[in-house]
């Protein structure tokens, strides 16, 4: 799938939860959202992308990357 | 230009009064304005301004239409959307009101407006034959304006001048105890420019 699109979608989700003052709550909220609404092949691809590290482009927000990595 | 206000004395029906009457009428503060005499075209901005000025009155539509007619002499159909917009009414509502009241003219009137009372008290005092005479004299029927635009003849049902029947209004001036002769004299005194 188009990784640019997936990363944008994930970052959009991250932007919403970023507002939460408690970082761990934000991370778990993002992860739950991805788990509940993303079809497995989308999740697979984004996890793979997150694993490539913080610098991989397109860039995932750090908060989002951390959340994705909890999905494994 | 003031000749149209003059025939006040004419009710007395004496020729020698006429000139005197002319002079007197010119100084009257009780003359009625007939501004539409000078209004040939109407002005949308003016209509909108009238509506704006009066729109906050409760039930503003009647005062607005009244003022429009006072200013223009009639209420052109094209005013309706303007008034409706300002008062936040539908065009239909404004039209319905406009067409209900006989005072509101939907066509421009003639240069002179003659109203003749046709109600019972005046009937009892020869009003019916007076009305026939006036129609013949003016050459137009009730509710009509003569082809040359000189006269509009309007019926009216009681002017509250029943103790002085029959009554006629010529360009806003009320006349009592009118006879055909007095009416003719009054008409012949109207300013030629307006005929």
């Amino acid at each position: 799938m188009d990784i640019h699109r997936l990363v944008k979608m994930a970052n959009d989700i991250g932007s919403f939860y970023e507002a939460l003052p408690d970082r761990s709550e934000a991370i778990s909220s993002i992860a739950t959202h991805l788990k509940n609404f993303w079809e497995p092949r989308m999740r697979r691809e984004i996890i793979e992308h997150a694993r490539q590290g913080a610098e991989a482009t397109p860039r995932l927000k750090e908060l989002v990357r951390e959340a994705i990595l909890t999905l494994e | 230009m003031t000749a149209k206000f003059v025939w006040m004395t004419l009710v007395l029906g004496r020729e020698q009064d006429i000139q005197f009457g002319l002079l007197l009428a010119a100084s009257q503060k009780w003359t009625h304005r007939v501004p539409w005499m000078s209004t040939t075209r109407w002005d949308k901005a003016k209509v909108a301004a009238i509506a704006q000025e009066l729109k906050d009155k409760p039930g503003a539509l009647m005062p607005v239409l009244r003022r429009v007619q006072d200013e223009l002499g009639w209420v052109p159909a094209e005013c309706v959307p303007i008034v409706a917009e300002v008062l936040n009414l539908s065009r239909a509502e404004v039209h319905g009101v406009l067409s209900f009241y006989h005072d509101f003219r939907r066509d421009p009137p003639g240069r002179n407006i003659i109203k003749v009372c046709r109600a019972e008290s005046c009937q009892a005092m020869g009003g019916v034959s007076l009305a026939e005479h006036i129609k013949r004299r003016l050459g137009c029927d009730f509710g009509h304006t003569r082809g040359d635009g000189s006269f509009t003849l309007e019926p009216v049902y009681c002017l509250g001048n029943c103790a002085c029947s029959p009554a006629v209004v010529i360009n806003g001036q009320l006349l009592g105890r009118v006879t055909p002769e007095r009416f003719d004299a009054a008409i012949s005194e109207l300013d030629e420019n307006l005929l």
Binding site: R5, F16, N36, E39 | A92, H95, G96
Partner: protein, 940 residues
Amino acid sequence: MLAIDDKDLGTPERKSDKLISLEVDGRTVEVPEGTSVMRAAALADIWIPKLCASDLLEAFGSCRLCLVEIEGRNGLPASCTTLAEPGMRVRTQSQRLTKLRRNVMELYMSDHPLDPFECKAGGKCELHKMAQAVGLDHVRYSSSGRNHLTLPVDNSNPYFTFDPTRCILCSRCIRACDERQGTYALTIDGRGFNSVISPGQHQHYSESECVSCGACVQLCPTDALMEKSVLETGPAERAVITTCGYCGVGCSFKAELRGDQVVRMVPNKNGLPNFGHSCVKGRFAWGYATHPDRVRTPMIRKRISDPWQEVSWEEALRYAASELKRVQAKYGRGSIGGITSSRCTNEEAYLVQKLVRAGFGNNNVDTCARVCHSPTGYGLKAALGTPAGTQDFDSVRASDVIMVIGANPTEGHPVFASIMKRRLREGAHLIVVDPRRIELVRMPHVEADYFLQLKPGTNVALLNAMSHVVVTEGLAKEDFIRERCDVREYEMWREFIVQKRNSPESVEQTTGVPAESIRGAARLYAKGPNSAIYYGLGVTEHSQGTTAVLAMVNLAMVTGNLGRAGVGINPLRGQNNVQGSNDVGSFPHEYTGYRHVSDPQVRAAFEREWGVKLDPEPGLRIPNMFDAALDGSFKGLYVEGEDIAQSDPNSQHVAEALAAMEIVIVHDIFLNETSKYAHVFLPGSSFLEKDGTFTNAERRISRVRKVLPPLAGMEDWEVTCALARAFGYPMNYSHPSEIMDELARLTPIFAGVSYGKLERLGSVQWPCNDDAPDGTAVMHVGQFVRGKGRFMLTEYIPTEERTSPRYPLILTTGRVLTQYNVGTQTRRTKNVTWYAEDRLEIHPHDAEQRGIRDNDWVEVSSRAGSIVLRAEITDRMQPGVVYTTFHYPETGANVVTTENSDWATNCPEYKVTAVQVLPTTRRPERRVPEPAHHAEMSHQ
């Protein structure tokens, strides 16, 4: 005329706890206080003659047929305007009354053709019925008297005629237009005997403000106002009650038939939610159902470049199923999916998702709500526990403050708008939030207290600022919050919302709305006491659609405006069955009743009922399907009732995705943009040709009844069953009621729903179960469905779609009254008379800068593409924002929309596209039909 079997009690129902007992013709009747003598008599089955009265209108007292004798009273009071009083003794029949009524009828008939054979309604109009009822057989007045028998007939409306020679001046048409529709298009010209019903300024109907809702025609007691279809086909013989196939108001209609032909659609006066009212679409624009374009035979083709080949149902279904199986075998279980539609019945949508989940073995099912109201479902469920509007439509009659945001009810939801306008005329306050000055901002007898003309895409900032005012000015309903909401989350939200960046002053620049207006509106809303929010796609179709829904919930909760009549958060759903198709499990992550596919208990129940193992992982959403198609992992699609190629954003991208699939099955009533990419076309049945149910925006489940046999021989639910069987999954129902029974078995919120109950109650609002056997009008009474209401942090994050020197304007979209969505239906009716092409609305300033004059062709280009249409210069728009509808495929408005979408649901950001608009010599690819008057001129 009312529908053929409608009874009319003469005056509207009055509600009162106080009952009054009176005697009518010796019969004792008990009625609520405020009830008229006429209605009381009718309730005792005593029918007093009448012509100007109708229970759809307030009493008027003009016809004087309904006079009665009341013991101890002088004269003969009119029974319509006389209220019942305790102990009253009424006589409705006497020689005196009979004579008087006959003499009044004689006056009517002295200016009317007496012969019922001359009646265009076949003598069945109320006037002729009354003449018979009072025993009038001849008229003594001379036939040479003054009359209206030579007035010209007005045929200017495409759907009905007005013949003033048949008019009796009862004013029912005028009152219908005023009281029921709220348009005030009609009046009387002149007075007394000279009175004539006058549309506009004594003009033709077509030149007046008339919106063709049909209320005047329905209420006309004579043949003066008649549907042309009745004049052509003849009076109806029978009627079938069904539900409108257009918007999410879901009006109840009677389809009237003569033989097998539909004569007309009349709003069902006893039906909810419309109480006998209608709009131009439901009332008149049903002709598409028998339009020659309807496809009547299944068709297949190997490649999309091949011509269509008509085949039998068996062959089409066998081919479709075998292709799906082939693709699935080749590319994997997840490589195929289905799309249901909000145009389908609950039963049909249920079957499609069942086919996908149980037959295809995956959860790749989605519905067109994805592109409209998915943020509503997500937001309302997350915060309150139920993804649906909180109120019934009638609740608005108890509202003191109505806030309309991102919706245009008078165009999009006209019947509800009429109810709302009535409440506004009664004195409720109105706040309109919209980038465009919609009609509701100021129209006869309605004027918004606040019109917050914000910049597109800034809803969240504005809503946050309103909440900021509520909290910082001490207007929060602390008691309500403590009792009903999660207090920890409230405290957290409170801390967030009071921050300076959320103040009206801070967002003034962003939203373009003066801070004082935001403050004023917030105070008004907080003051209530009953404040309700109504919203539409102007809220949801944004990158922050879900956030905005949550921000509205926050505002409603902080002011205590949830859980009773007159308040709430109410989505105005675009299509008739958006709510229903969502309810019955059309989303890829949840089963019916909004239960997640990962829930083992729920899944187990479905597995038991359906007899297969089910996938616990969410499936692909529509845009993900397209992405996966281009990616090569999604190759087959069954689309029922949606034209995704036209209605989904970035048409080019959609087209490429569809072209990349190996089997596309389109199941629809017309060939459309999507079918250009299809390999199988299965002809669908219109709403007139099938049984089922629709669920409207207020959760009301109403029956759709088969009025005509399906043109292609099969109802849609039968086709899906046959496709499932061909695919190898058994699906056998003898009637849609069995589908509903299965749905009810599996779904707690529907547990009490059955066709039997719908037959009995007319309609029912879910939740309907043992706790609420007759359904639920207002939700969250006492406590929220999820327990405690959730305040969620709604940070304003601007969309990435920004203006730039290259694309300096923002394009936003909407619709008009007479057209519907992509126009599939309405373009095939005479509604094109009013709106024959999409237009680009542009502010005079922007037009001037670009040298654009009214009616000029302009090219609108965005980062995604460009389209050509004509410009309409109007100060409805704010500078910097342009607007168009998307009713005509020729325009292809979605060519320019982008792929930005809502963070939570991927609902596309239709409402914000940066564009440039310039004059052009280009013309739309397919010629847009010229409006009628232009066409006439071209012949000269």
